[in-house]
Symmetry: C2
Subunit: 354 residues, 2 copies
C-alpha cells in the first residue's frame, strides 16, 4: 500500500501498536456540514449525489479538510444494493427511503438477483476509485454495506419501519422464504464488498442497524449468520495488506460474545454498553470501535472532552480501539463540537499507547 501516510486506523483494527487512538465519525460526511449541504444542493436529490462519483468524492473528503480524522468512508447509502436488485428506490421528502416494489411474496423473492457490482452498481465502484485517487494515501478508505437482515427490513417493509410488521411476519411465518431472501442478499453484499476492495477500499464495515430489533435466537439465525457468511466470502487482502472488517449491530450489546466469533476483526459498539466491560467480554478476539453517545456533541467542548476521557479510560491501555460515535453524527450538531471531539481523542489518548 504505497504511500499510506496515516495507517493508525488499520493498525488499531488489527490490534497493532499505534501512537494515539484513531478516530472517525459515522456519517462524518453529512448534513451537519454547510459544505455538504452546498454540494447536496448542487447534486439534486440524495440519490443523485450518491450516483455522481465526483460529487460523492467531494463530500467524502469534506470532513477530512476540517478535522484530522484517521479514516474516510465512502459516501453512499446502504440501500444501493436492493435498488440495484430492481426494487425502485426513491427518497420522499420527510419520509425517508421508499421502495416502489417491496418484496412480500415468494414470487417477489424469486425475482431477486445478485447485481453486477461493475454493472448496476458501477457508480459506487467509480466513487471508490475516485475517492481513493483523491485521498492519495492521506488516510485509509472504508467501504461498507448494510447487513442482509437490515436490508431485508427495508426491502420487505418498502421503507423505514418502527414496527417491522411485514418483515417479521415473514420471518415468523415463512422462515424458509426469509432465508432465501437473506441468502441472495448476502451473496449480493459479498460481491459488492469485494468489488469495493478491488476498486480501492482498504477496510470494510457492515452496518446491521436493525439486528437489535430481533430476539437473541432470531438475531443469530437471521442476522449474524448472514454477516458471518459474507465475512467468510470476503477478500481480506489488498495491496499486500490485510483488509479489516468491522461489524456493527446497533443494540447488539447483549450478544457481543456471539458477534466476536463471526469472523470480523472489530465490532462496532453503540453507547449502551460500557466499552471496558465489552473489552473484557470479547477478550483478544476482536478490536472495538465506538462508542460515544452522539448526543454528547450537543454539549459544550469541555463536556465532550470529559466524555472522551472517560471512554478512553474505560477501554484502557493498548491498541485495539478505534474511537467513534455510537451512531451517526446528528444533523444539528455544531461542526466546532465535532472538531473538539476529534482533537480530544488524539490529545488524551497518547498516554494509553506508551
Amino acid at each position: 500500500m504505497a504511500g499510506l501516510k496515516n495507517d493508525r486506523f488499520l493498525r488499531a483494527l488489527l490490534k497493532q501498536p499505534v501512537d494515539v487512538t484513531p478516530v472517525w465519525m459515522m456519517r462524518q460526511a453529512g448534513r451537519y456540514l454547510p459544505e455538504y449541504r452546498a454540494t447536496r444542493t448542487k447534486a439534486g436529490s440524495f440519490m443523485d449525489l450518491c450516483k455522481n462519483p465526483e460529487l460523492a468524492c467531494e463530500v467524502t473528503i469534506q470532513p477530512l479538510e476540517r478535522f484530522p480524522l484517521d479514516a474516510a468512508i465512502l459516501f453512499s447509502d446502504i440501500l444501493t444494493v436492493p435498488d440495484a436488485m430492481g426494487l425502485g428506490l426513491r427518497f420522499a421528502e420527510g419520509e425517508g427511503p421508499i421502495f416502489d416494489r417491496p418484496v412480500r411474496t415468494a414470487a417477489d423473492v424469486d425475482k431477486l438477483f445478485v447485481p453486477d457490482p461493475e454493472g448496476e452498481l458501477r457508480y459506487v465502484m467509480d466513487a471508490v476509485r475516485t475517492i481513493r485517487r483523491e485521498l492519495d494515501g492521506r488516510v485509509p478508505l472504508i467501504g461498507f454495506s448494510g447487513s442482509p437482515w437490515t436490508l431485508a427490513t427495508y426491502m420487505v417493509e418498502g421503507g423505514s419501519s418502527k414496527e417491522f410488521a411485514h418483515v417479521k411476519g415473514m420471518l415468523y411465518d415463512q422462515p424458509a422464504l426469509m432465508h432465501k431472501l437473506l441468502d441472495v442478499t448476502a451473496q449480493a453484499v459479498t460481491q459488492y464488498l469485494n468489488a469495493q476492495v478491488d476498486a480501492g477500499a482498504q477496510a470494510l464495515m457492515i452496518f446491521d442497524t436493525w439486528g437489535g430489533a430481533l430476539t437473541p435466537r432470531d438475531y443469530q439465525e437471521f442476522s449474524l449468520r448472514y454477516m458471518a457468511q459474507i465475512i467468510a466470502g470476503l477478500k481480506r487482502e489488498a495491496d499486500g495488506r490485510k483488509v479489516p472488517v468491522v461489524m456493527f449491530t446497533k443494540g447488539g450489546g447483549l450478544w457481543l460474545e456471539a458477534m466476536a466469533d463471526a469472523g470480523a476483526d472489530a465490532l462496532g459498539l453503540d453507547w449502551t454498553v460500557d466499552i471496558g466491560a465489552a473489552r473484557r467480554r470479547v477478550g483478544s478476539k476482536v478490536a472495538l470501535q465506538g462508542n460515544m453517545d452522539p448526543c454528547v456533541l450537543y454539549a459544550s467542548p469541555e463536556r465532550i472532552r470529559t466524555e472522551v476521557k472517560d471512554i478512553l479510560a474505560a477501554y484502557g491501555q493498548g491498541s485495539g480501539h478505534v474511537f467513534n460515535l455510537g451512531h451517526g453524527i446528528h444533523q444539528h450538531v455544531n461542526p466546532e463540537h465535532a472538531a473538539a471531539f476529534v482533537e480530544a481523542v488524539h490529545q488524551l489518548s497518547a498516554t494509553y499507547h506508551q
Copy 2:
C-alpha cells in the same frame, strides 16, 4: 382483598405458587380492538377518553370481555403527570404528543410542582375507582406511571423524539438542573402512584420507555436512581395484601443485575433478552414479566403457540413469571391472534406449575 376471584397475577409477581402462568398484554385496551375504536370515536380525542372515567373504565374492561386475561391495567397515558404540571399536553394527528410549554431552562424547571393527585389528576383516580368497582374482583387492577427519565424526555423535547437532542443536551451540560427536574418528577410520580393505590390499584408498573437510550452510567444516575427513589416511597400494602411493583426499562437487558436491586418485585423484559438467561442473572431477587416480540402476533396462531411454548420452556419450572409481550400490542394485530396467544399461555403453562 375480599372477593378477588383470580389472583394469579399478584401471586406470580411475588413468586407464590400458581396453577398456570398469568398473562396480560401491554396496551391491551387499544386500537387493535374495534370496540376500543368505537368508544374512542364516542369520546372525542385521546385525552378526552383518558379524562372521562366512565369511558376509560369501558375500554379498560373491553379486552377482559374478549380474552381470559389475568390482569386489567388502568387506561391512561404516561403524560398525565407532566400535563398536570402545566406543560399543556395535546395530541396532534399523526405527530404524537406535544407539550406547548416544554421545559428548557432553569426558570422552566423552577416552575414545576408536584400536582395534587386528587386535584389536577382527579380524573385518573376517578377512573381507578370506577374500574375497580366495575371489575368487582374479577382480576387485579394495575396502576402505572412513566419513569421520571422517560417523562423528562417528553417534557424537555416537547414531544416524542428520536435523537433526544434537548434532553440529553441538558443531561450532559447541566446535570444539576436535570437532577432537579427528575427529583420533582419522581416526587410527583410517587404521590400519583400512591393515590392510585388508595383509589384501588392492586399492583403498580413503572414504564421506562427511554431508559435504554442512555449510557450504562447515565441509566443508573438519571433513570434507575429515580425509579428506586419512587419505589422506596410507595405504599406497598392495600386491603391487607402486598402491592407488587413491576419496573420495565425497554432496551435495558444489559442492566438487569442493577435493576434487580432497585426494590421492584418484578422486572419487565423486552424480547431482546432470553428470559431463561434473565432468570439466571437476577436469581431469586425479582419475578419477570414478558417477553414475546409483539410482532409474533402477526404470524399464524400455530406459530404464536410455538413461540409461547419456547418462552415458557426458557423460563422453566415454578412461579415468578407473568407472561406478556415485550412491548405494547400493535394496532394492526388481528384480535383473534391475541386470543390464540392468551389461550396458549394458559394451556401450555400448567406443566410448569406441578
